[in-house]
Each structure stands twice: as C-alpha cells, then as structure tokens.
Amino acid sequence: MNAGSNTLLTLAGYFALLSLFAIGGGNSAVPEMHRFAVDVEHWLSDRQFADSFALAQLTPGPNIIIVTLIGYHVAGVLGALVTTLAMCGPAGLFAFFVGGASERFKGAVWHGVLNRALVPVTIGLTAASAIVVATTAGYNWLAAAITLGTALTAYFLPVHPLWAFAAAALLGLSGWM
C-alpha cells in the first residue's frame, strides 16, 4: 500500500477516463477494470479482484463502489478517495451540463436513436462482465454450478440479490469444508 504520487496520478487519470466509458452503469466497466488493474498494472491478483467485486456487491450503494475498493487496495484511504472522485467527476460534470441543456432537446430524435443504439452495447458489456467475473472467481465445478444455478433461478423467479448471495456464500463455504 506504499503508493507514490505516480500511483495516485495513474489511478486518477485512468478512472477519470473510464468514468466516461462506463455505458449502462458500473458493472459494464468491470472487464476493463480487470484488464487494467490485474493484467496491465498488476495492482491486484485475480483472486483479489474477484473478492473486491464480491465485497462491492455486498455493499449497499451504486455498483461503481468497486473502484473505491480497488483504490483502497492500491493506495490506502487516499487512493480510495482519489479513485472514487475520479470515477464520479467527469461523468458527473457531463451529466450536469447535458442535464441542464436537455430541457431544450426534450423528445428530440437523437434521444430515441441513442437509446436504441446503446441497449445492445449494454447487453454485450454486461455479458462480458458476467464471464470475466465468473472465470476470475474460480474455475472449479462448484463456482460454475453456483453461477449457472443463480442465472437460471433469477431468470425464472424474482430473486432478491441478498438471498442469492447468502445461499452462494454458504455453498462456497460448504464446498470447501
């Protein structure tokens, strides 16, 4: 956790950029965070990344809170604050100015076009996140069974995420014991 100002600058610059590319919410940027934090910078291991993702899921609040955990892991409390601000700042500024201007474009054609255009991209990104998280979390049969079982259950039944997480945590524990 010894981070120089270089590490903080890298964190700030990278997550500020990423915030503008997170289409459809924080979870769609997970594969990109994994690529950069694990494969490029070696800030975390696969295991630690999957753990951070799981902990972020267990924390109430927006999904993008995973970046706070990554920042904390890399550079302590300061890293967590820098990363969180970077992830909220540019996208927030963008929303501030576009939101203010949007009154003038109400019902404009581009609105519907962009909406239709981004849905398939969001679907592809979310599917990619699911695969990256599943393969990062573990290659064993139990992890795969939990992923498939949760997917099927949640597709056909209204499942509260907390129940799914509780059941999966117990299954994971029992598989180890």
Binding site: L17, L55, G61, T84, E103, A127, P161
Partner: protein, 205 residues
C-alpha cells in the same frame, strides 16, 4: 447491490401538457440541500436489488419531487449518459433543484455512506482476506453475482432477438466477444461499436 443495469425505457415522449421539469407544478415540493442529501443517502443504503425501484418509490410516490413522466424522462436520459445511471440521476436531479450545490449534495448523499462502509470493509478484508473460509464465501458471492448478471442479460436480450432486426443482436455479440473473450481495451472497442450502433439505430437496420 443490483446487478441489473436499468433497461433504458422506450416510452413515448410525454404529452405536451406535462409540466416542464424546472417549473414544477405548485403542489410539487422543492427539496432543500439537506433533504437532497438525505434522500440520496437513503436510496443508496437501501439500494439492494435495484436502485431504480427505490429511487422511483422515493422521488415519485413518497416525496413527490417528480411526476411519473418526469421520472421516466430523467431516467431515460441517465441511461444514455456515460457513467453510473444512478450517479447521473443524482447529478441531474440535484442540479435541477439547486444548481451545482444541489448536484454536490445529492452525489455526496449517494456516494458518502457507501464510501465509508466500503472503507471499513476494505480494512477488514486487508486483515482477514487470506482466511480460507472468507475466501470461499466470497468466491460463492462473486459466482452468484455473475449468475445474476447473466439472468439480466437474458432478460434484456429477449426482446432484442425477437424484434427481427439483425444488427442489434450482432452488436451485442460483437461487444461481448471484443470485451469478454478477446479482452480488448474498452475505449477502443466503444470507439468502433458505438458509432456503428448509432448508425444502425438511425437507419433502423
């Protein structure tokens, strides 16, 4: 928190008679900065299983800061802006009531409490993260979260594949392959995919 990005709505633009958002109808209360902070902190902390559902209940049904039409319209806009949908929602709503200060109050409410919580969690993880029992439980949770995302994908993709159009499913599959399988950098992939998808949506391919 929820693994499901809210599906951008395809609702028709509201009727011309609906109130423009800044000039809210007289019966609509105008929240103070503190009320904005508290509202978004509450949404954030109760945000398991869908921040969208919680924010709608609070903003439209309980506090009546927005009409249902205003809510849908604002959320549709947030879905096409970059960044987390609920973050954009807090910025836009805060700024509509109190400008930049309102946006800051709303974002502080949204991010502050989970930030403190997650710092505590991170500190605990730094000490006990290597305990085998904890690691196995977290593996289970991450696997389940991946499963929830897959279910969301399936639900979102169903109407896409049924619509008969060829390009949207192709865009979804290409995005998945580039990011999930080939693990190419996100900005590069989006720089190609988004313009292609916008062109296809424009021409209704």
């Amino acid at each position: 928190m929820s693994s499901s990005p809210p599906i951008p709505s395809h609702e028709e633009p509201p009727a011309a008679s609906s109130q423009p958002i800044p000039a809210a109808a007289p019966q609509q209360p105008r929240p103070s900065l503190a009320e904005l902070f508290v509202a978004f902190a509450t949404i954030s902390l109760s945000g398991f299983g869908g921040v969208l559902a919680w924010s709608r209940r609070m903003m439209v049904e309980e506090r009546r800061w927005l009409t249902p039409e205003q809510f849908n319209e604002t959320y549709a806009l947030c879905a096409i802006l970059p960044g987390g949908n609920i973050l954009n929602f807090s910025v836009i709503l805060g700024s509509r009531f109190h400008g930049a200060l309102g946006a800051i109050a709303a974002v502080a409410g949204l991010m502050g409490p989970p930030l403190l919580l997650v710092l505590g969690i991170g500190a605990i993880y730094a000490h006990y993260g290597e305990l085998p029992a904890l690691r196995h439980m977290l593996t289970g949770v991450a696997s389940a979260a991946a499963g929830l995302m897959l279910a969301t994908v399936a639900k979102m993709a169903r109407p896409l594949f049924r619509s008969g159009a060829i390009t949207p499913p192709l865009i979804a599959v290409a995005t998945f392959a580039a990011i999930g399988v080939l693990q190419w950098p996100l900005p590069l992939v989006l720089a190609v995919i988004v313009p292609a998808s916008v062109a296809a949506a424009w021409l209704r391919l």
